[in-house]
């Protein structure tokens, strides 16, 4: 058995090596030839590897041990990361010039020419690195997490399926970011939507009323349909206006065309529709409602799809389309306002949540709002910077929360196994990761069959139980709250600076949102890790295995140092005038400028070693000192964050002590807290405004239009009576009255004649004789007369 497995793995690796070697061989020769060496031709492999991984797991997943399934999926992700790194190196060797790697013609119909080609530029490579890098760590984490999750939910056979979905997601996400045209982007866009649906509904038979998870998956899918509808319309308009869907062609024409009023209106329509698409995928107001429900999926999914990668697709898409957005003031403002409103709105809701993952979900929506606001203000670099750092610390937070949940479930099983507190035996199969938001938590203990391991009210005092998780959680929370020197500080500060320079109102909205962020993270940290354990489960919680904590540590390191990707200029210190040039100063700005402002980036001529000596892009400077640390902005945000943390500390320092005790905040702000807890009743509002009428309309069309009108009236009455009348007409009138009449008439005629003639045949011989006689007389008479 062992031998067979080893052979199988060797075979797989061999198979993987063949395409790699095929690609690499000419490159290596080229390298020996000297000059222009690059690995751009390897780019298709970034999608091939995850696909291979998922194929292997589909075919052999059930026969392999869980570890091998995880190793194959993780190495697929890791190899994809390797390809992404090679792309980054190649870009550097190539002077950061964007490269298009065509693979095949995809659709050629008349003017519509859509290649299947890969766009390798600094923007897409940055996305590839985030997607594959964070993705790999989450894959590894998932090996440990899903090991107990499948057992907790009572179906270990579903383990390989999870990794198949994860790899499929990676492939789709990489299609999204590598495509060189809007249609490829859309293919990936839909692919990640599908994976999101599949993974939210991974435990589709669990959740409230056994359909809660399936319903959450459906909600995500349908909310995304609204965005996808807008994306499609935007693509149609783009093709209509530019005659192409390829990024290069579209953006190339943007520079050259002169827009009349009409064309301006079309551009505005395109960009607004793209915004709606982004709002669907990136969970912005008003389409954000699916993301909190998406927490029904296993925690690695929340981290990978619903925090780090998929939900950032909208920001990537807007950044990619910056040339279009630049043409429409209206759209830019709308984007910025949508982002700002989302940022504040979701942050307030997060304050009132009790589910550990829901807090993070609303936090994600809020942070995505920051990014969208940034790109709306023209701060594409700030948006992408925050996207990257957010991917680090939010993935970290989600994975840590998964570790906490894992620990709580561990506590439950521990109690169960030792008979502590008389656990109900059917605990395992009655609850998955369902939500119990509005359920007043009953008597703490394990008597209740619906113990929710995700409810923060059930936790408390986990710091000593989960040392590693606690520390990394704290780091993630500090990064998210934007505390110096963690990654979130730098990226959030850059967004705030953009807002400060362009729109004071948005700046203050975002600053307040940042304050809320710090507050709810303090609340969460305190409720989860400090105080006294409020349930026996929390008392018995245990740290997660190394396979889970190692990725956490890696992400924690990234969350601490992620800010180094794009350090600002501090004070009047300037990299060109200063002798000390810290590595990483404006690195991301310069890096992305090659895509965002290719004409000015990197001083154009000095294309070598751009990150060391070149001054910040002229474009950035022209925009009013962006990238310079503004002490006022930095101090304001830091003070707001610290004040919120202190406030949170005093509110939650000692409370709540028991599970039933109401949230201490409720005592202070009273009914407002209920609004926060119940998410401003947006779900109910949608229910009343959209779903209710929609439901009523559906019912109306089904019951009245379809059933009563079409079926009962039109079909049964009109059609049936018409048919009956016609049938009667043909039957009685034509068939009986005419055709039958002819036949019957003929029959009657011959019958009548026969009857009449047969009367002659009377059987009386004398009658016959008489006839003969008369005949003779007649004949003779004739002859006589004639």
């Amino acid at each position: 058995m062992k031998l067979r497995r080893a052979l199988f793995i060797l075979l797989t690796l061999g198979l993987l090596a063949i395409p790699a070697a095929a690609y690499a061989a000419p490159l290596l020769q080229e390298r020996h030839g000297g000059g222009g060496a690059n690995f751009f031709n390897l780019i298709p492999l970034i999608i091939v590897f995850p696909l291979l991984g998922l194929l292997i797991n589909i075919v052999a997943g059930k026969r392999m041990s869980e570890n091998w399934v995880g190793i194959i999926a993780s190495s697929a992700a890791g190899l994809a990361f390797l390809i992404a790194v090679l792309q980054a190196l190649s870009l550097q060797a190539n002077g950061f010039t964007a490269v298009t790697v065509p693979l095949a013609d995809w659709i050629v119909i008349g003017d519509l020419h859509i290649p299947w080609a890969f766009q390798v530029d600094t923007l897409s490579v940055a996305m590839m690195l985030v997607v594959t890098g964070v993705g790999t760590l989450i894959h590894i984490y998932a090996i440990g997490y899903m090991h107990s999750d499948v057992r907790h939910n009572g179906d270990p056979a579903r383990f390989p399926r999870f990794f198949v979905y994860l790899n499929l997601f990676l492939a789709a996400m990489l299609i999204l970011v590598t495509g060189n045209n809007y249609l490829m982007l859309f293919v990936g866009w839909e692919g990640v939507g599908l994976c999101s649906f599949l993974l939210i509904g991974f435990w589709f038979e669990k959740g409230a009323n056994n359909v809660g998870n399936a319903r959450a998956a459906r909600k995500a899918f349908i909310a995304n349909r609204v965005g996808d509808w807008a994306m499609l319309l935007a693509m149609f308009l783009i093709f209509w206006l530019f005659g192409s869907l390829t990024f290069d062609n579209v953006f190339g024409k943007v520079a050259s065309i002169r827009l009349d009023e009409y064309g301006q209106a079309v551009i505005t329509a395109i960009t607004l529709l793209l915004l709606v698409g982004a709002a669907g995928k990136s969970a912005q107001v008003p389409l954000y409602v699916w993301l909190p429900d998406a927490m029904a999926g296993p925690t690695p999914v929340s981290a990978l799809i619903h925090a780090a990668t998929m939900v950032t697709a909208g920001i990537y898409m807007i950044t990619r389309s910056n040339a279009l957005f630049a043409l429409s003031e209206v759209s830019m403002n709308t984007v910025a306002w949508v982002g700002a409103i989302t940022a504040l709105f979701a942050a307030t809701i997060a304050v009132g949540q009790t589910d550990i993952k829901k807090v993070l979900a609303y936090s994600t929506i809020s942070q995505l709002g920051f990014m969208v606001a940034a790109v709306g203000l023209g701060g594409y670099v700030a948006g992408m910077f925050h996207l990257i750092t957010h991917a680090f610390f939010k993935a970290l937070l989600f994975l840590s929360s998964g570790s906490v949940i894992h620990a709580m479930e561990h506590g439950m099983h521990e109690l169960h196994a030792h008979g502590g507190g008389g656990h109900d035996a059917h605990d395992d199969d009655t609850h998955g990761h369902e939500e119990h938001d509005h359920q007043p938590s009953r008597e703490a203990v394990s008597h209740q069959p619906h113990f929710d391991p995700q409810d923060m009210r059930n936790m408390g005092g986990l710091w000593s139980k989960l040392p590693t998780t606690g520390w990394v959680y704290l780091i993630g929370a500090l990064a998210l709250a934007g505390i110096f020197p963690f990654a979130g500080f730098w990226s959030k500060d850059e967004i705030l600076l953009d807002a400060f320079n362009h729109n004071q109102t948005i700046y203050w909205i975002l600053t307040i949102a940042a304050g809320f962020t710090a507050f709810y993270m303090t609340r969460q940290i305190w409720m989860v890790f400090f105080g006294k354990p409020r349930t026996p489960e929390a008392k018995h919680a245990g740290e997660s295995p190394l396979v889970m904590t190692a990725p956490l540590v890696a992400l924690a390191v990234l969350s601490v140092w992620g800010g180094a990707l794009n350090l600002p200029t501090i004070g009047d210190w300037h990299p060109t005038t200063s002798l000390i040039t810290p590595y990483g100063s404006h690195a991301l700005t310069q890096w992305l400028d090659y895509t965002l402002h290719p004409e000015t980036a990197g001083g154009a001529e000095a294309s070598h070693g751009a990150e060391t000596t070149t001054p910040e892009g002229e474009a950035a400077e022209a925009e009013g000192g962006e990238g310079v640390l503004n002490p006022r902005v930095a101090w304001t945000s830091t003070i707001v964050a610290l004040a919120a943390i202190v406030l949170g500390f005093f509110v939650y320092r000692a409370k709540p002590t028991t599970v039933e005790e109401p949230d201490p905040l409720q005592r202070i702000i009273g009914p407002v807290f209920n609004w926060l807890r119940d998410k401003w009743y947006i779900d109910e509002l949608y229910q009343a405004l959209i779903l209710g009428p929609y439901d009523a309309l559906a019912r109306f069309t089904a019951e009245v239009i379809d059933w009563r009108f079409w079926h009962d009236w039109f079909h049964d009455k009109v059609l049936a009576s018409l048919f009956n009348t016609f049938a009667r007409l043909t039957a009685d009138g034509v068939d009986l009255g005419f055709i039958d009449a002819i036949a019957n008439g003929l029959a009657d005629l011959s019958k009548g004649l026969a009857a009449r003639f047969s009367r002659l045949q009377a059987g009386y011989v004398r009658g016959y004789a008489m006839a003969v006689f008369l005949g003779v007389v007649l004949v003779l008479g004739y002859f006589l007369v004639a």
């Binding site: 047969s758 002659l760 059987g763 009386y764 011989v765 006689f773």
Partner: protein
């Protein structure tokens, strides 16, 4: 010498009697006899005109008629006997199975 007209008249009377007998009587035997009467009235005309025109053809025809009549009687009587045996009647009105 008796004029031919008389013979013809007698023949006509006999023929008429035969016809009347065939048409009016029901007894098959009587009908048979009436048919014989008609045949013989025809014979009388044959021989009367044979003598009138002094030609032997009429005489010969009479022989033929008599042969036919004899043969007919033989068949006819056999039929009548058979019919009587099955139906106990020789009334032609009773023999009407072939009516339409």
């Amino acid at each position: 010498m008796v004029p031919t007209t008389y013979y013809v008249a007698l023949s006509a009377i006999l023929f008429t009697m035969g016809v009347a007998g065939v048409l009016l009587r029901r007894n098959a035997l009587i009908i048979f006899m009436s048919v014989e009467l008609m045949l013989n009235s025809a014979n009388l005309v044959f021989v009367a005109y044979a003598r009138e025109f002094m030609q032997v053809g009429g005489q010969i025809f009479v022989f033929f008629v008599m042969v036919v009549a004899a043969a007919e009687v033989a068949v006819g009587l056999a039929l009548i006997v058979t019919i009587f045996r099955t139906r106990k009647s020789i009334s032609v009105d009773d023999i009407n199975q072939l009516k339409g």
